[in-house]
C-alpha cells in the first residue's frame, strides 16, 4: 500500500524522460504525457481513499533504519491536495493539446513543453508528499525550475522581462529556504517533520520563533502573501494560457500547503494568530483593490489570486479545527476555480484575440458557450451561494466568528468586502467583455466603421444594438486579423474570431463541471477537510504514523 507513495513523483518524471526522448514523435509524446498524469490522478484518488480509511501512509524510501532516510508521507491533507492538483494538471495538459497546431508550435513547443510540464507536476507531487524539510525544498526546486522554463517559453521580450523578475524572486526565496533549513538543522539536528515537532518544542522560545518566522517568510513568498506578493501579478499573465492556468492553480497553493504544514506540524504551540491575521487581511484587501484597477483580465485574475490567498491564510491563522478545515476546503476549491478561469481566458484569447477589457466586447453574443463557461466559475470565485466558493467562505467566516475577538471580526468583515469586490471585478469583466457591444478598433473602423455606426445609431443605444453591431464587427474580424494582444507578444499572430477548437472547449467544460461538482460533493468534502484538520491540529497522528515507537 505504501509503495503507491512514490508513484505521483516517479510517473511524471519517467514520463518526462520518455517524452524528451520521443521528441521527434509528438503524437506518442502526448500519449505518454497524458498517460503519466492520468495514472497520477488515479493514484491520488486511491491515496485519498486509503488515507481517509486507514490514516496517514508513510514510506521510508530505501528502507533505511527509521529516523535516517527520507520519508514520504501522505495524510488526508496531502492526499487531497495531490488529487486536486493532479486533476487540474491533467485537464490543463489536455487543454494545451487541444490548441490549434500553429498556436501549439509557438506557445507550447512540443519537445520542451511536455517534459517540463511533467517535471512541474512531479515537483508539485513531491512537495505535497515530502515528509521532511529538505525534500520539500527539493520539491519546490523541481517545480520552480520547470516553472522558469515554462514562463519564458519562446523567449519573447515580454516573457524574458517577466521571467527575470520571477526567477530572481524565486531564487531569493530558495536561498532563504536553505538558510532556514541550515538554521533548523543546526538547532535540532534533523529535518524530518515528525521529529522536528518534538525537538522544536524543546528549543528556547526565541530560537523557535526565529525559525518559524524564517520558514513562514519563505513560504509566504511562494504563496504570494502580501507584502511578498508583488512578483505574482507581474509575471504570471505573460505566459501562455495553459501555463498561467497551472501556475495560478498550483504554485501558490504549494506555498499555502507548506504554511499549513509549518503551522500545524512544526509549530503547533505557536500559532502567531495576530501576525498571520494581519497578513491575511492586507493580502485580501490589497489584492482585490489591485484587481479592480486592471483592464487586462489575466492580470486582474492574478490579483484576485493574490487576494484569495488571504482567505486561506486567514483559516490557518485561526489555528482551530474549523479554521484549518475552511482553509483546506478553500484551497481545493480555489485551485480548481482559478485554473478554470485562466483556461476560459485562454479560450477568450482564441476567440476574440485579446484579453484586454478595452478591446473585448460582445462576447456573450459572439459565443454564448464562452459566456456560460466564464460566468459559472466567475460567480463561483466571487462566492455566489450555490457554488463552492460560497461554502468555503462561509466555513472560513464561521470559523472566524467562532474564534471571536476584534481582529477575527475585522477579518470576517474584510472577507465579506473582498468577496463583494471580487464580484464587482467579475461583473466588470462580464459587463465589458461579454455584454457591451464590441468596441471596434481604430483601424477596423476604416473598413466597417460606417455600417457598425449606422446600426448602432438606428437602434436605441445599449443592449438592443449589441447583437447586430457585434455581428458586423465580428464579420469583419474574421476577414481581417486586426485585434491583437496587448500583453502577450507571442499571441500577436493569432488571427481573431476563430472557432474555438472543441478539445479546448471540452476540457474547460469538464473543469467547470468539476468546479460545480465540488459544490455537489461539498458535504463529504467538507467532512473530509474537517477530519484532515483534526489530524493536523492533533499532530499526534502524523508523528505516530511516521516514527516508529521509541524514536521520537
Amino acid at each position: 500500500m505504501n509503495n503507491l507513495l512514490p508513484l505521483p513523483v516517479l510517473l511524471p518524471l519517467l514520463g518526462a524522460g520518455l517524452a524528451l526522448a520521443l521528441n521527434r514523435r509528438p503524437r506518442v509524446q502526448r500519449v505518454v504525457a497524458a498517460t503519466a498524469l492520468a495514472s497520477v490522478t488515479t493514484v491520488a484518488a486511491l491515496l485519498v481513499w486509503l488515507t481517509d480509511a486507514h490514516g496517514p501512509i508513510v514510506l521510508w524510501v530505501g528502507n533505511w533504519p527509521q529516523p535516517l532516510g527520507i520519508a514520504l508521507v501522505a495524510d488526508r491533507l496531502s492526499a487531497l491536495m495531490l488529487l486536486v492538483s493532479s486533476v487540474v494538471t491533467l485537464s490543463v495538459l489536455l487543454f494545451s493539446m487541444g490548441a490549434p497546431e500553429a498556436e501549439r508550435r509557438r506557445e507550447t513547443p512540443i519537445s520542451i513543453f511536455y517534459p517540463t510540464f511533467l517535471v512541474l507536476s512531479a515537483g508539485v507531487s513531491n512537495a505535497f508528499l515530502a515528509g521532511d524539510l529538505f525534500n520539500l525544498f527539493v520539491g519546490f526546486e523541481m517545480l520552480l525550475f520547470a516553472s522558469y522554463v515554462l514562463l519564458t517559453l519562446g523567449g519573447t521580450g515580454e516573457r524574458v522581462r517577466a521571467g527575470s523578475t520571477y526567477v530572481l524572486v524565486s531564487l531569493l526565496s530558495s536561498t532563504l529556504f536553505l538558510v532556514a533549513i541550515a538554521a533548523v538543522y543546526a538547532a535540532t539536528g534533523t529535518v524530518n517533520f515528525a521529529q522536528l515537532q518534538g525537538r522544536l518544542a524543546e528549543l528556547p522560545p526565541e530560537v523557535s520563533l526565529v525559525l518559524q518566522l524564517l520558514l513562514l517568510t519563505v513560504f509566504s513568498i511562494k504563496a504570494a502573501v502580501f507584502p511578498m506578493s508583488a512578483w505574482l501579478p507581474d509575471s504570471y499573465p505573460t505566459a501562455p494560457a495553459p501555463v498561467t492556468a497551472v501556475f495560478a492553480g498550483l504554485l501558490t497553493k504549494v506555498g499555502v500547503y507548506a504554511i499549513i504544514r509549518t503551522q500545524s506540524v512544526l509549530f503547533p504551540d505557536s500559532p502567531l494568530t495576530r501576525l498571520l491575521m494581519w497578513a491575511a487581511l492586507i493580502t485580501m484587501v490589497v489584492g482585490i483593490l489591485g484587481a479592480i484597477a486592471q483592464t487586462e483580465v489575466k492580470r486582474m485574475l492574478s490579483f484576485t489570486l493574490v487576494s484569495h490567498i488571504g482567505y486561506m491564510v486567514f483559516g490557518v491563522a485561526l489555528a482551530t479545527t474549523a479554521g484549518y478545515a475552511g482553509a483546506i476546503f478553500y484551497t481545493a476549491h480555489h485551485i480548481t476555480i482559478q485554473t478554470t478561469l485562466f483556461l476560459v481566458l485562454g479560450l477568450v484569447e482564441v476567440r476574440a484575440g485579446s484579453t484586454s477589457l478595452t478591446k473585448l466586447g460582445g462576447l456573450a453574443a459572439l459565443s454564448p458557450v464562452l459566456g456560460i463557461l466564464f460566468f459559472v466559475p466567475a460567480m463561483n470565485l466571487a462566492g455566489i451561494p450555490p457554488f463552492s466558493g460560497f461554502i468555503g467562505k462561509v466555513g472560513l467566516l464561521d470559523a472566524g466568528v467562532q474564534h471571536g475577538g476584534f481582529l477575527a471580526y475585522l477579518l470576517v468583515g474584510g472577507g465579506v468586502v473582498t468577496s463583494l469586490l471580487t464580484l464587482y471585478a467579475m461583473a466588470k469583466v462580464w459587463n465589458r467583455a461579454f455584454w457591451r457591444p464590441l468596441q471596434t478598433e481604430a483601424d477596423e473602423l476604416e473598413t466597417v466603421g460606417v455600417e457598425t455606426v449606422e446600426q448602432v445609431a438606428e437602434q436605441p443605444a445599449g443592449t438592443a444594438s449589441r447583437t447586430s453591431a457585434t455581428e458586423a464587427a465580428s464579420g469583419d474580424l474574421e476577414e481581417e486579423p486586426g485585434t491583437t494582444m496587448q500583453q502577450d507578444e507571442g499571441a500577436e499572430e493569432l488571427s481573431t474570431g476563430r472557432r474555438m477548437p472543441w478539445p479546448m472547449v471540452a476540457t474547460t467544460v469538464v473543469l467547470v463541471l468539476v468546479g460545480v461538482g465540488i459544490t455537489v460533493v461539498a458535504g463529504p468534502l467538507y467532512g473530509y477537510s474537517e477530519r484532515a484538520a483534526t489530524d493536523l491540529l492533533g499532530g499526534a497522528a502524523y508523528v505516530r504514523a511516521v516514527l516508529p515507537e521509541g524514536v521520537r
Binding site: V138, L178, Y185, A186, Q294, T295, A442, L445, T484
Partner: protein, 210 residues
C-alpha cells in the same frame, strides 16, 4: 557544540555581498550576487554541521570522529541546483541582451503605466465611462479632453472612434479606446525590444500606429 565564528563571518560577508549585488539592475551582476549568496548559505551549512571530523565512512573513521554527512549532502544538492540556475540565468541575461541590447531587469509594467497616467493626469483604463452616454461627474472633464484630442490630430479623426461618438452621441465613450492604447506602449518602454527586432512581424497595431 560551539559554532565556528570564522565560518559564520564568512557566510555573513558572502550573503551581504550577494544581497548588495542582487539589488543591482544588470542581470549579470545579479547573477554574481546570487552565486555569492548561495555560497554563503553553503558555508552556513558547514556551520550547522558542527565540528569538522574525518570522512564519514565506516571502517575509515571511528563514528565519534566523523563529521556529519547530512549537511554535506544538503550542500551538494544545493550546489547542483545553483549550477542549473546559474546556467538558466546566464541564458536569460543573454536573451535579454539579444532582445533589448542590455541585460537590465526592467520596471514592472504596472508601475510604469501608472506613473505615466499620473504624469499625464489621466484616468486608468479600468475607469468605466458611462456607457449610456449620460455625463457623470467626470463628464465635463472628459468632454474637454475629447475636444483637445480632436483638434490635436484632426487628420486621424476618421480612424479615431470620435466619429462613432459623434453619431451616437455618447460623449465619454471614446475615452476608453482612444486612451488605452497608450498605456501598453508606455509600458513597453524600458527593456522592451525595438519593434521588429527578432520578434519579426509580431507587432501590435499600437506600435504600428504610434
Amino acid at each position: 557544540m560551539s559554532p565556528n565564528l570564522t565560518l559564520a563571518l564568512v557566510a555573513g560577508v558572502l550573503v551581504a555581498a550577494g544581497v548588495y549585488l542582487v539589488l543591482e539592475r544588470s542581470l549579470t551582476r545579479i547573477l554574481v550576487g546570487v552565486l555569492l549568496a548561495s555560497n554563503g548559505v553553503n558555508v552556513l551549512f558547514l556551520v550547522a554541521s558542527g565540528a569538522a571530523g574525518g570522512a564519514p565512512i565506516t571502517g575509515v573513521t571511528e563514528p565519534q570522529d566523523m563529521s556529519d554527512p547530512l549537511p554535506q549532502a544538503f550542500v551538494l544538492t544545493a550546489i547542483v541546483i545553483t549550477l542549473a540556475v546559474t546556467a538558466f540565468l546566464l541564458t536569460l541575461a543573454y536573451r535579454s541582451f539579444q532582445i533589448a541590447g542590455n541585460d537590465e531587469v526592467s520596471d514592472d509594467v504596472e508601475d510604469s503605466a501608472i506613473r505615466r497616467l499620473a504624469l499625464d493626469d489621466e484616468t486608468s483604463g479600468s475607469y468605466e465611462p458611462d456607457d449610456e452616454g449620460h455625463p457623470d461627474e467626470e463628464g465635463q472633464a472628459t468632454g474637454e479632453q475629447e475636444g483637445e484630442r480632436v483638434t490635436a490630430d484632426p487628420e486621424s479623426s476618421d480612424a479615431d472612434p470620435t466619429g462613432y461618438e459623434g453619431e451616437t452621441e455618447q460623449e465619454p465613450e471614446p475615452e476608453t479606446p482612444a486612451e488605452t492604447p497608450k498605456a501598453p506602449v508606455a509600458a513597453r518602454a524600458p527593456g522592451e525590444p525595438p519593434p521588429g527586432y527578432l520578434t519579426g512581424a509580431r507587432r501590435t497595431p499600437e506600435e504600428d500606429g504610434s
